[in-house]
Each structure stands twice: as structure tokens, then as C-alpha cells.
């Protein structure tokens, strides 16, 4: 009998809710919570359950991965399941990050499930099999069933079909495929050509990802009368991170009042720090103005180069953040700025 291991978060691993989201990674040599469902459906024994708090992975991803890979080092397993994570962003990120690491380290099939809105989908669909799942735990049985059916196919050595037939999110992995109806390329080409000529819908066999290029704005002739805002994806936040912006794969942003300061105070002064997990924070923690240059902008105000620095700066984290989430946050921030008469933005990245 094949062996499987299941990864769950603190909630589905029956530790508790949000209050224990910092729960450290642990492995149990039995089936816990949702792992029982896997065991019922799977053509394999679920030998272990790994449980970890979503916040633990979110804030200490590297440590979480190291510890979990350590748990698995001496275990025998043929397949690994993570989730389902539904629409829970942090859980999706955890399933993806852990799943990817397990796949790379042990080269076993890794299967997860997430709702299409879960940012973990775009982040990890290239690395592991992710099936489209429901929005909430009400879909637990359906989602696990989809994952297990596919897992069973792999375990039983059955021929795997293309993604569109198996149902998982496409991964950018393309292989040649003999069409069962043997429609030759010349028929497909003529069919596509006639449809294109007649403005009918057709499906290109090689879809090219659309590049969402944004036109560079026209230069502003006179800055001396306008209000300029600072916006950053560099993760500068007040030291208690009041908006709980994620350190990676952010879905949230914050705005912080600076009208009364000449420059940003640093972490030691218990003012601002970075929560960005994608670069060495030492320099930004020492001087957050190097990411959000309030000090320089004040100088420009003084000499009349700009009219005014806007009273808030906006911040989020750019690392691992999906294009979709980034665009949404950008739109939300822009709406506020426009409403308040801001005419220009300096966007700093890291």
C-alpha cells in the first residue's frame, strides 16, 4: 500500500482558530482532522499529518519549510497533499510554499486545492498540482475528492490527461498530444483561419500571455503647485504593522500619516520598519527614508520644487504579490489619491 502525508493549517488540524495562527509546525503519526477524509478516499494510507499555523508560515516561511522538510527526512511517502485552502490567502500561500519545497526535496507528486481567487494559485500553480476549489470549508468533501481522484490516478500508474481534462490549474507545462480524433493540422488551420476571417471565436493552440503594458505618463511641466504622494511596495509600516500587511504575497495596503514629520523615524526609535520578506531589511530598518524618502521630499517642498508632499504615504509589499492583487491595490490607492487632489505619485520599489 502506498503512503501519503497531508499538510493542514492550525484550523483544519484542529488546533484552533486565528488566536493560534502562530502555531509552530508539528508532525503527528496519525490522521488529524481533514486527513481522515483523505484516508477514506485514497488508495494509500495517510501515515502522518503535518500541522502549522498560517501566520507562522507567513512570517517565518523559511524556518517553517526547514522544519517541515526535517520532519519528512526519515519518512517514506509516495504522495503529498496540502489543503484544501479554499479562499484563505495565507493558507493557500502555506500550501504552495510547503508543497513546492516538498516537491523539490523529495520529488513526489504534490496536490493542493484552492479557490481561483486565492493568490496562492498564481504563485504556485507552476510548481504543484492545484485544483480549483470552493470558497469555504463547506466544499471540503468536493475539493478533497477531486484531489484524491487525481492522486489515485498517479498512484495507480494511470495515463494522465492534459490539465484541461484532469481539471487542475494550467502550469505552463506543455507537451505534445495526439488528438484522439486525429484532426490534422491543415483542418485545424483552415478552421481557425475561417473563424478569424469571420470574426468568430476560435482557440489558439498556443495562447500567448497578454502583456499588460502601461503607457508611461506624460511629464508634468510644473511641479511647484501640485501635491505629490509617496507610494511604496517596499513594506515600510509603523512598527506594530497596524494593517497586518503580509510580508509576502500581500493582499493588503496601509496609509500612514506623515504631515507632522520632517523624516521617518526608524525601528529603534519605535516608529517605522519594513515587513518586506524579499530583501535584507537592515538598511530600511535603520533609515526608512531610503525606501520612502520623506526627508528628500521635505527639502523639495522647502525649495519650492514641489507644491506639497501629500499627508499620507501608502505602503504594501511587492514580493510574490500577484499581478491581479497588485493591480487591485493600485486602483484602490489611486481612487483615494485622486479624490484628495493628489496630482503625482512617486512609486518606490525595492
Amino acid at each position: 500500500m502506498s503512503k501519503a502525508i497531508v499538510y493542514l493549517n492550525q484550523f483544519f488540524g484542529q488546533i484552533g482558530g486565528e488566536d493560534v495562527a502562530d502555531h509552530e509546525p508539528e508532525i503527528r503519526d496519525k490522521k488529524v482532522g481533514a486527513a481522515m477524509l483523505y484516508d477514506q478516499l485514497l488508495d494509500a494510507d495517510v501515515t502522518h499529518t503535518i500541522i502549522c499555523g498560517d501566520n507562522f508560515v507567513g512570517s517565518k516561511e523559511e524556518e517553517a519549510i526547514d522544519r517541515i522538510l526535517g520532519f519528512l527526512e526519515d519518512k517514506e511517502f509516495d504522495i503529498f497533499f496540502a489543503g484544501p485552502a479554499f479562499q484563505a490567502g495565507r493558507y493557500g500561500n502555506a500550501c504552495g510554499a510547503i508543497g513546492k519545497a516538498v516537491k523539490e526535496e523529495f520529488d513526489v507528486p504534490v496536490i493542493s486545492s484552492m479557490n481561483e481567487e486565492n493568490p496562492g494559485v498564481d504563485m504556485y500553480k507552476k510548481d504543484i498540482y492545484i485544483f480549483p476549489g470552493g470558497q469555504s470549508a463547506a466544499k471540503m468533501k468536493d475539493d478533497v475528492t477531486k484531489m484524491v481522484e487525481f492522486g489515485n490516478k498517479i498512484l495507480n500508474g494511470e495515463k494522465l490527461l492534459p490539465a484541461e481534462e484532469e481539471g487542475y490549474f494550467i502550469r505552463g507545462i506543455r507537451h505534445q498530444y495526439f488528438l484522439p480524433d486525429e484532426t490534422p493540422a491543415y483542418e485545424r488551420a483552415i478552421d481557425m483561419l475561417l473563424k478569424k476571417i469571420n470574426n468568430e471565436e476560435y482557440v489558439s493552440e498556443l495562447p500567448i500571455p497578454e502583456l499588460d503594458t502601461v503607457k508611461i505618463a506624460d511629464p508634468i511641466e510644473d511641479l511647484s503647485k501640485i501635491t505629490v504622494a509617496l507610494v511604496t511596495s517596499g513594506g515600510i509600516v509603523p512598527i506594530d504593522n497596524p494593517d497586518r500587511i503580509q510580508s509576502a504575497s500581500a493582499t493588503r495596503w496601509g496609509k500612514y500619516y506623515i504631515d507632522d514629520v520632517d523624516q521617518l523615524q526608524n525601528r529603534r526609535q519605535e516608529a517605522f520598519k519594513t515587513i518586506h520578506a524579499g530583501y535584507d531589511p537592515a538598511a530600511a530598518d535603520t533609515d526608512p527614508n531610503r525606501v520612502v524618502p520623506v526627508d528628500a521630499m521635505r527639502k523639495y517642498e522647502e525649495v519650492g520644487k514641489i507644491g506639497k508632499l501629500y499627508k499620507y504615504f501608502y505602503s504594501t509589499v511587492g514580493t510574490g504579490t500577484t499581478q491581479g492583487e497588485a493591480a487591485r491595490m493600485g486602483q484602490e490607492i489611486t481612487e483615494e489619491l485622486l479624490e484628495d487632489g493628489v496630482q503625482a505619485v512617486i512609486l518606490t520599489s525595492t
Binding site: R174, Q176, P184, Y186, A189, L193, K196, I197, S204
Partner: protein, 441 residues
């Protein structure tokens, strides 16, 4: 221009005392046929074999495939190549269908050569396993390229053409099973009914990337590297104006047989007067330098526009570097307002994760994919090998190797093989036959 192709279905092939064709049976006087092959003093050894669909036979290194034909009014089947230059595409040409002449190296292969399995699980990877084939297996004294990865294969390819013409003569004065008629009125002289239909051009990008003569596809004997895009009647392509070259990983190539039968052209003909007005063929090429690529794309777009094309089909004989010519041409046509569909293969790597084409552009929004050149294929040993199996591993075939850290040699001691699709003989069938596509996994 009116081309009549008189088709004779070859039901069986055998060796006999006289080369004749009667009631579907092609009989070959082997000795006389080999005399034709030996007319080139560079041929040092030659033999003929007959292989049929389902035979447990592996052919490697395969260099060329040709359909035997006979030009009724006289003249060479391949004008400017096997004889004097003359106009192809007008008149009556007799053709042996359901068969080809395959040219196989007795020993030595190269980058551009391929493999065919006539039976077993490997048969599906090439078109030629469905045909009855007369196999010329031969060696030459072209020592200068014996150990070169890139081979011109001149003596062998020309011997194949001579042999095909020799066999085709057996059709002389015979009544074909059926006659296909291909004709297009001059573009400005077409009926209102036809002229009102959407006008379509076929754009061909034959392989022409070698600077040195002797490797590229030939157009009436002229090296396509020395050519700017030019307008041709589709009948010329179907009637021997174009011959295959000896460059490019094999699965991406068009054999001369592919040129003679070019399925995309035939399919456009079927639609002519029904759903489209088939303008003709813009014969482009594939280049090395960026400016050459851009120049060709510019010529194609201008020509399509000047000819009044509303739409175009573009097919690329190759992958990798020439993808830039392919995408460049598709984009130039779209920019000129010509609705374009492209046909080519992809190179997504053994793991399927690589970028499918070297160059991508969102304007190339209607593509037909015919295969992955780097798909890994493992095949069991075959009862018989024609040619030399070791060539797959030894001679730098594009889909073979002599040593791989994980996979070892392409050729195993028991005769089984592991190779990339790259070396399947014209396997991606970009001329239009391919029943393969690409899917996300």
C-alpha cells in the same frame, strides 16, 4: 495555369524482372534501378529495400522522402534540379500515391537526418510509416562531411530524386485512378463571385538559414538563402519547383514529398471559390541576421497587402532561431491588416516548461501547434534496422546523443532507443498532416 495530377494508387511493391506498374502493383527491376542510382560516381554502395506499414523495421539515418512522378509532356520532375529549368505547375504530372522513395544512409547520419519506425509504438511519430516505401540505402565517397554533424547529403538526395523519376516513368501512357485538377484564374481576372470572397495567401517559410551553398531548400534549383520573398503559383510547389534541403533538426523539416503534397495548399484549394479566394503562395524564407528577418517580413506584408489579401496562413519549416522570422512575419501581416494564422511546432523542453517559441508576440493570436521537438521518446528494439542504428547516438542527430548523464546513450545494447522527437523524420508535419497538438499538463 492548370495542373492535372494523375494519381495511381500503389497497392503493393515487389522486385521483378522489369520495372512496371500494373493494376496497383509496382514491380521494380532492382538492377536497372540501381544503375540509375550509380549514375553518380560518388555513390559507392547502394541497395534497395521495400518496407510497408506495420513492418517491424527501423530506418535511420533517413535523409529524404520523395513521391515518384512522371511529367507527361516531358521534362524533369524537379525543374532546375534534376534537369533543365522549365515552368512547373502547368500540364499533367502522374504520381504514385500511398508510397514514397526514402533515402537512408548506409552508415553515416547527421544533425538533419531522422528516424522512421514502420511498425510498433514508434510508427505514430512519422507520416511515412503509413506509406509503402522503396528504401534506397546507400553510402558515398563524400568523405569531407563523413564526420561532420551538418551534411549536405548531396549524392544521396540526388540519387533519391533520380530513382523517383526512374520509378515514375513506369506510369507513362497509363490511365490514372483519378485526376486532381488545380487551377486558379489570374488574380485580376477572377469572377465577381470569387473576388468577393475573403482573399487568402499561403506564406511558406522554407529552411534557408545556411550561408554556405548545398544545405538549403531549393526553389527551381535556386538556393532559398539567396532569395527575397517571391510570389508563386501554388501549382509550382505541388509540381516539383521546391525541393527539401539538408538542414534543421529533422522533425521540423519538410521533405520533398511534403513539398509535392503540401496539405495546407491543397486544403486552401478545396476552399477556393467556396469560402475563400485563394490568391496564391508567397514564398518567403528563414534567415540568420535580424535585418534579413525583418526585410523578409516586410516584403511578405507588402506583397500580401498589394495582392489584396485579407488573410494569410504562415507555415515555418523550423524552430528556435527562425521563430523570430515566423513571429516577425505574423506580426508584420497583422500590422498590415491581414488576419493571420500560423502553423509550426514548439520547443518546450523535455519537461515541457520552457518558452514554446524563441519569440512571442500577442499579435500572434491564432497559432496551430504541431508538436514539441524536445519530447522524450523511448522505443523498444526492432526486428530489422535499415541503415545504421548507431548513427542516432554517434553522428550528432538533433534528437540523439552518445552520452547523457541520466539517460546514457540514445542507442542501447539491446537495440532499444531513447531520443528526442527532434529526430523523428519530418515528424512534426508542419506542412499540415500533424495530428499532434500541444496541451498544458
Amino acid at each position: 495555369m492548370k495542373l492535372e495530377l494523375g494519381n495511381f494508387h500503389v497497392e503493393d511493391i515487389e522486385f521483378g524482372n522489369e520495372t512496371t506498374f500494373n493494376d496497383g502493383l509496382l514491380t521494380i527491376d532492382k538492377e536497372e534501378a540501381l544503375e540509375v542510382v550509380y549514375k553518380d560516381e560518388h555513390i559507392t554502395e547502394a541497395d534497395l529495400k521495400i518496407v510497408k506499414p506495420g513492418d517491424m523495421v527501423r530506418l535511420v539515418p533517413v535523409k529524404e522522402a520523395i513521391e515518384p512522378r512522371y511529367r507527361e509532356e516531358g521534362g524533369p520532375v524537379f525543374p532546375g534540379v534534376t534537369g533543365d529549368l522549365m515552368q512547373a505547375g502547368d500540364g499533367r504530372t502522374l504520381a504514385m500515391k500511398d508510397m514514397s522513395v526514402l533515402v537512408v544512409g548506409k552508415h553515416w547520419g547527421g544533425f538533419q537526418d531522422g528516424l522512421i519506425d514502420m511498425g510498433g509504438e514508434g510508427a505514430k511519430y512519422t507520416y511515412f510509416s503509413q506509406l509503402k516505401n522503396v528504401v534506397l540505402v546507400a553510402d558515398t565517397d563524400e568523405d569531407f562531411e563523413k564526420h561532420e554533424q551538418q551534411k549536405k547529403n548531396r549524392a544521396l538526395r540526388w540519387a533519391g530524386m533520380r530513382l523517383s523519376e526512374y520509378l515514375g516513368k513506369a506510369l507513362k501512357d497509363k490511365e490514372p485512378d483519378e485526376v486532381e485538377t488545380y487551377t486558379l484564374d489570374p488574380i485580376t481576372k477572377r469572377s465577381e463571385e470569387v473576388s468577393e470572397l475573403p482573399s487568402v495567401v499561403m506564406v511558406m517559410q522554407p529552411q534557408s538559414q545556411m550561408e554556405e551553398p548545398g544545405y538549403n531548400d531549393l526553389n527551381y534549383g535556386w538556393d532559398t538563402n539567396n532569395m527575397l520573398p517571391t510570389f508563386m503559383h501554388p501549382n509550382e510547389v505541388l509540381d516539383g519547383a521546391m525541393i527539401s534541403g539538408s538542414f534543421m533538426p529533422c522533425s521540423s523539416k519538410w521533405s520533398t514529398y511534403d513539398m509535392q503534397n503540401f496539405p495546407l495548399i491543397r486544403r486552401l484549394y478545396e476552399e477556393h471559390g467556396e469560402t475563400i479566394n485563394f490568391i496564391g503562395v508567397i514564398m518567403s524564407n528563414l534567415n540568420v541576421a535580424m535585418e534579413q528577418k525583418e526585410r523578409s517580413a516586410q516584403f511578405v506584408a507588402q506583397m500580401a497587402k498589394s495582392l489584396g489579401a485579407d488573410a494569410a496562413l504562415v507555415a515555418e519549416e523550423g524552430y528556435g532561431n527562425p521563430d523570430a522570422d515566423y513571429i516577425g512575419c505574423l506580426v508584420a501581416l497583422e500590422d498590415a491588416g491581414v488576419k493571420t494564422v500560423g502553423v509550426s511546432n514548439e520547443a518546450t523542453g523535455r519537461d515541457g516548461g520552457s518558452q514554446p517559441l524563441v519569440s512571442l508576440d500577442p499579435k500572434a493570436d491564432a497559432l496551430v501547434s504541431t508538436g514539441n521537438v524536445s519530447e522524450l521518446i523511448k522505443l523498444p528494439p526492432m526486428d530489422t534496422v535499415i541503415g545504421e542504428l548507431e548513427a542516432l547516438a554517434r553522428d550528432g542527430l538533433s534528437g540523439g546523443w552518445d552520452d547523457d548523464e541520466v539517460l546514457g546513450s540514445s542507442v542501447k545494447k539491446d537495440g532499444s532507443i531513447v531520443m528526442e522527437n527532434n529526430s523523428m523524420f519530418c515528424g512534426d508535419q508542419i506542412a499540415g498532416w500533424s495530428t499532434k497538438t500541444m496541451k498544458e499538463y
